[in-house]
């Protein structure tokens, strides 16, 4: 085979691989839409998405408790996530010496490799019991428990991307700042962080997608109660999230029933949210990049 034709073969193989991933995405959307259409038709799009009650055994499908639960879990988890993850990334990228790095880096990678069911297991055994006894809760299974667990779970994800973003900031920026007499903190605060902000924001937005889509661990600790807490922002109450509803109810559902199609509608909702997040992460990144030239 000549070099040229072998080139062409490799090119076409790569092209097929690229097309495949797009095709799979399109197919996923197609099937989710096809399977959830009957639910939108029978229940009505507005009632299905904003209905106040999800009582699937009684054929009442309103997603608002699930959406509210997902939003609460995600926001609270993200808060914990950013609160620990971003400073950790700054420490690793800017302050840690080689010795401390050589311990921390593998430790974080190890944390990322822990399967979610293990987190769930520890969540049930330790976190839930701890919350119960320290807050006098009837049960520790709650929106709060889900948030803490998911927040911790995705620390490695946010730290790794943020650290990469911080490291990508050209050395000259920092050296320039230090040469002007700025302290280390001033340099981090006014030079490195703004220059890396596109990567950090992208990491945060992508992590929202991670958190909202995590299933196994959340299913075990959120309580799976598809009802609005009273008051509505009470994070000590059990709640339900997109993934816990799908995973919990899909196994035994009669196929082809309204319940079945409604679960697909929940899945479609989740996919749409995650897709919007991913696209906006890209947009934000490119916009900030233009601004800072990083």
């Amino acid at each position: 085979m000549s070099r040229k034709s072998s080139d062409r073969v490799i090119e076409s193989v790569l092209f097929v691989a690229a097309i495949t991933s797009i095709l799979i995405t399109v197919l996923i959307f197609y099937f989710l839409i096809r399977e959830s259409l009957p639910a939108f038709r029978d229940v009505g799009a507005v009632d299905l998405i904003f209905g106040p009650k999800w009582h699937s055994a009684g054929n009442i499908f309103g997603m608002s408790p699930i959406i509210a639960g997902s939003i609460m879990v995600t926001l609270l988890a993200l808060f914990i996530n950013i609160f620990v993850g971003v400073p950790l990334a700054i420490y690793l990228a800017e302050l840690a010496g080689p010795r401390s790095r050589s311990v921390q880096k593998p430790a974080i990678e190890l944390l990322a490799g822990v399967p979610s069911i293990v987190y769930g297991f520890l969540g049930v055994l330790i976190l839930v019991a701890y919350l119960e006894s320290s807050f006098q809760m009837m049960t520790g299974r709650s929106i709060l428990a889900g948030s803490i667990l998911l927040g911790i779970m995705f620390i490695p994800a946010i730290t790794t991307i943020c650290e990469d973003a911080l490291r990508a900031v050209p050395k000259e920026f920092k050296e320039g700042s230090l040469a002007l007499g700025a302290t280390r903190w001033q340099t981090v605060r006014y030079v490195t962080l703004p220059a890396a902000s596109s990567g950090i924001i992208a990491a945060i937005v992508l992590n929202i997608g991670n958190i909202i889509g995590e299933t196994m661990a959340a299913l075990l600790v959120v309580g799976n109660l598809p009802r609005h807490p009273k008051p509505i922002f009470d994070v000590f109450d059990p709640g339900a999230i997109f993934t816990s509803v799908i995973a919990g109810e899909m196994g035994e559902v009669p196929h082809g029933s309204l319940h079945y199609h409604s679960l697909f509608a929940v899945g479609l909702m989740l996919l749409v949210i995650v897709t919007v997040l991913n696209i906006s992460a890209d947009l934000i990144r490119s916009r900030i990049k233009k601004k800072f030239g990083g």
């Binding site: 009837m138 049960t139 299974r141 299913l219 919990g248 196994g251 319940h259 079945y260």
Partner: protein
């Protein structure tokens, strides 16, 4: 590699079984013993849930479905009414409370009490003869056969809303660990998951046991089924015969169910 599979495949006919996770331990043990006893037919068992099992036989993905409930009308509408039903064992839904509550004196509850607790009308153990303590009510997620049985027989309808429930769980094992992990919980679970560390209460004055299920005095008993879509093939029939035979029913008893034959 491929050749090995091609030669190996026809040596034994394959029968695939899928469905309810409640029935699965029974299906698996039966398959093990059945496969050991002969070499013509190889039975393999997977879970998925009753709904998945029923879908699988209707779409010819597997040969036999395990189900902890009967085929629903919605399923008959979707797939046509060709389901053939085999009763394989009985199970009971047991109502259990945390050991502390049991020790404090709650050893039996009437249907009205249980229904009131699950409806959210009774929210304190005080009202049913135990110290002042809020009741932590546990239930299974929709779709569970155990949940359907409980709601139908205790709450009056499998569409009951059970507003008293605090948390929903995906499996019997989760319910069990939530009851043992709390000191004020009530929940329901299959007979085969009951062990010493939780307080199983008498329901309507009858304690669940093999005897009370067999003589039908325990009200919350339910039947477990296997289904085929259309008449079973010869191989599937052989396995079903085994499950319903004396050996198969002994396995059912070992697994904590009550034999049907």
């Amino acid at each position: 590699m491929l050749a090995v599979f091609l030669i190996a495949a026809p040596a034994s006919a394959a029968v695939t079984v899928s469905g309810s996770t409640t029935v699965m331990p029974l299906g698996e043990r039966c398959a093990e013993e059945f496969n050991d006893a002969q070499s013509e037919i190889e039975v393999s068992v997977t879970g998925g849930g009753s709904g998945v099992g029923i879908k699988n036989i209707a779409e010819d993905i597997s040969d036999i479905a395990m189900a902890s409930r009967q085929v629903k009308d919605a399923e008959k509408e979707t797939y046509g009414d060709n389901f053939v039903e085999f009763l394989i064992a009985y199970d009971a839904v047991c109502i259990a409370v945390s050991q502390e509550i049991y020790d404090a004196g709650v050893t039996e509850l009437s249907q009205d009490d249980v229904a009131a607790i699950y409806n959210g009308e009774i929210t304190n153990w005080e009202d049913v003869g135990s110290p002042d303590e809020e009741i932590y009510v546990l239930a299974r997620l929709p779709g569970s056969g155990t949940r359907d049985t409980f709601n139908k027989m205790v709450m009056g309808s499998d569409e009951a809303e059970t507003l008293g429930v605090r948390t929903y769980h995906g499996s019997n094992a989760e319910i069990k660990s939530a009851i043992t992990g709390s000191d004020k919980a009530i929940g329901y679970l299959g007979l085969n998951y009951v062990q010493d560390d939780i307080g199983v209460i008498a329901y309507e004055d009858v304690e669940p046991s093999a005897e009370t299920i067999e003589d039908t005095s325990y009200p919350l008993a339910r039947a477990l089924y296997m289904y085929t879509f259309g008449e079973p093939s010869e191989d599937a029939q052989a396995f079903l015969d085994f499950v319903m035979s004396e050996d198969g029913q002994t396995v059912a008893e070992d697994e904590g169910f009550v034999p049907a034959y």
